[in-house]
């Protein structure tokens, strides 16, 4: 039987991916509705690498036109939940 990951699992997973891109960041203090770029000083290369990490970790397709949906933690959670169900 396959267990569907909870929001908490997804959140922890996404934070882990962010930590690999911005290892110096205090992710515990991350505001879920504020953009990663503003909080973590991500540039376009960092963001692309983050999107690639999400794609590989959650096996989801992320067209470039959907990038704006992945710029915050809550946005990522919503997309992952929607695309994996």
């Amino acid at each position: 039987m396959t267990t569907i990951p909870s929001d908490a699992d997804n959140r922890a997973h996404i934070l882990r991916l962010l930590g690999e891109i911005a290892p110096e960041a205090d992710l515990a203090a991350l505001s879920p509705d504020v953009s990663f770029r503003d909080q973590l000083d991500l540039d376009s290369m960092d963001f692309l690498n983050f999107v690639i990490s999400l794609h590989k970790a959650f096996h989801i397709e992320i067209p470039e036109s959907d990038y704006p949906k992945y710029t915050t933690l809550n946005g990522c959670l919503a997309q992952v939940a929607a695309l994996r169900t």
């Binding site: 911005a22 290892p23 110096e24 000083d41 540039d43 376009s44 290369m45 692309l48 690498n49 999107v51 690639i52 794609h55 397709e61 992320i62 067209p63 470039e64 036109s65």
Partner: protein, 391 residues
């Protein structure tokens, strides 16, 4: 015999600390293989060897800080062991005192010199003089009893100086100092001139969007890669900008290695080279660029990547900057800057419409080129970005 010397990994580097040897005496090494890890003021770098052969001598100890040009190892071509001692042409290591370590007494049973003549390398003789040692009283452990640098170091009453690994704050401070030194030198020695042009990016961005839509996420392109490739191709039309200033004259580079300014997350920046950027396809260039950024931020760049750049490209658009007035990184003779992609009113066929544009700027060395040629370069850059499918 070939000598491996402390390389210069940029105009701002005067010395480096050996972190570790990646090869040992007796190991075979080929050109391009990593021989050592060296800590510079900016990062720890994997240093490549430029000779093929067998490691004959390792003269520098891990932890030692030595000036650029110091012979650190001797490599011999495969064959019988070397019979002559090291004959270095550079100065002996002059470590900066950080933390003394005990120096073990020389216990190796040496081979006696074959004759009454003292066999000692010039570097070892110099070090002995500096440390007040009479080398005639020493026994050498080198070939045929030759006195080596290691013998002098062991016999010296002054400790071998070891640099401690730099902490983040210390590294940041040192990096700031080295950047300051290079930039001050640039402004002191290079008569800069500056040009800029505004480039309509509507075609390039439309092409990029379509291209990325058909590419898997792992192979998508960033607009900065289009800029890099366009710069590389434009240099073919104005090759005097792709040169290095050496011994009072500009020496054009046959190959185009684009130094890409990469900001480090802890502060500071490096500008490693994308080799042969003019010949790489956009997909390969993007993969290489991604890898370079990743390794720059992880501190695992190669020496050739830090020393081979023939021009630098810097993009500051993500910081909101519209126009870059760059400082040339010597001995290069030009730097190309890109600002933020912004929508601006644009007049085309008598109509004012909104277009995405970017300001491209050129900082160039007036000893090497003039504004006319610089202007041609920017015009060519503009032309190339209007035909993104050709990049």
């Amino acid at each position: 015999m070939a000598e491996f010397v402390m390389p210069t990994l940029g105009a701002d580097m005067t010395e480096g600390t050996l972190v570790q040897w990646k090869k040992q005496v007796g190991d075979r090494i080929t050109k391009g293989e990593i021989i050592a890890e060296v800590d510079t003021e900016k990062a720890a770098i994997d240093v490549e060897c430029h000779a093929n052969g067998i490691i004959d001598q390792l003269l520098t100890k891990p932890g030692e800080k030595v000036p650029v040009g110091t012979v650190m190892a001797v490599i011999r071509e495969e064959g019988p062991p070397a019979t002559a001692p090291l004959q270095p042409q550079h100065v002996a290591p002059q470590p900066v005192l950080r933390q003394p370590i005990p120096t073990p007494a020389a216990k190796t049973v040496p081979l006696p010199p074959p004759s009454g003549r003292l066999r000692i390398s010039p570097a070892a003789r110099k070090l002995a003089a500096e440390r007040g040692l009479d080398p005639t009283g020493l026994t050498g452990t080198g070939p045929e009893g030759a006195i080596t640098l290691e013998d002098i170091a062991r016999a010296s009453t002054s400790p071998v100086d070891i640099a401690t690994p730099a902490g983040t704050a210390e590294r940041q401070a040192r990096m700031r100092q080295t950047i300051a030194a290079a930039m001050a030198r640039s402004k002191r020695e290079i008569p800069h001139y500056y040009l800029s042009t505004t480039i309509d990016l509507s075609r390039a961005l439309a092409w990029l969007t379509a291209e990325n839509a058909r590419r898997p996420v792992t192979e998508r392109l960033l607009v900065s890669v289009l800029f890099i490739k366009a710069v590389a191709l434009a240099l073919k039309q104005v090759p005097e900008l792709n040169a290095l200033w050496k011994d009072g004259e500009a020496v054009r580079s046959e190959r185009i290695h684009i130094g890409t300014a990469i900001s480090l997350r802890q502060g500071g920046l490096v500008a490693p080279a994308l080799h042969d950027a003019d010949r790489a396809g956009l997909g390969d260039l993007m993969q290489h660029f991604q890898d370079l950024v990743k390794r720059a931020r992880a501190g695992s760049l190669r020496s050739s990547e830090l020393s081979d750049s023939t021009i630098t490209v810097t993009s500051l658009g993500e910081q909101g900057v519209e126009t870059v007035f760059g400082v040339i990184y010597p001995p290069q003779v030009a730097l190309v800057g890109f600002g933020k992609v912004v929508e601006r009113p644009w007049v085309a066929t008598g109509l004012v419409i909104a277009r995405p544009v970017v300001t491209a700027s050129l900082s160039a060395d007036h000893r090497v080129s003039d504004g006319h040629r610089g202007g041609l370069f920017l015009a060519e850059l503009d032309r190339l970005l209007q035909e993104p499918q050709t990049l």
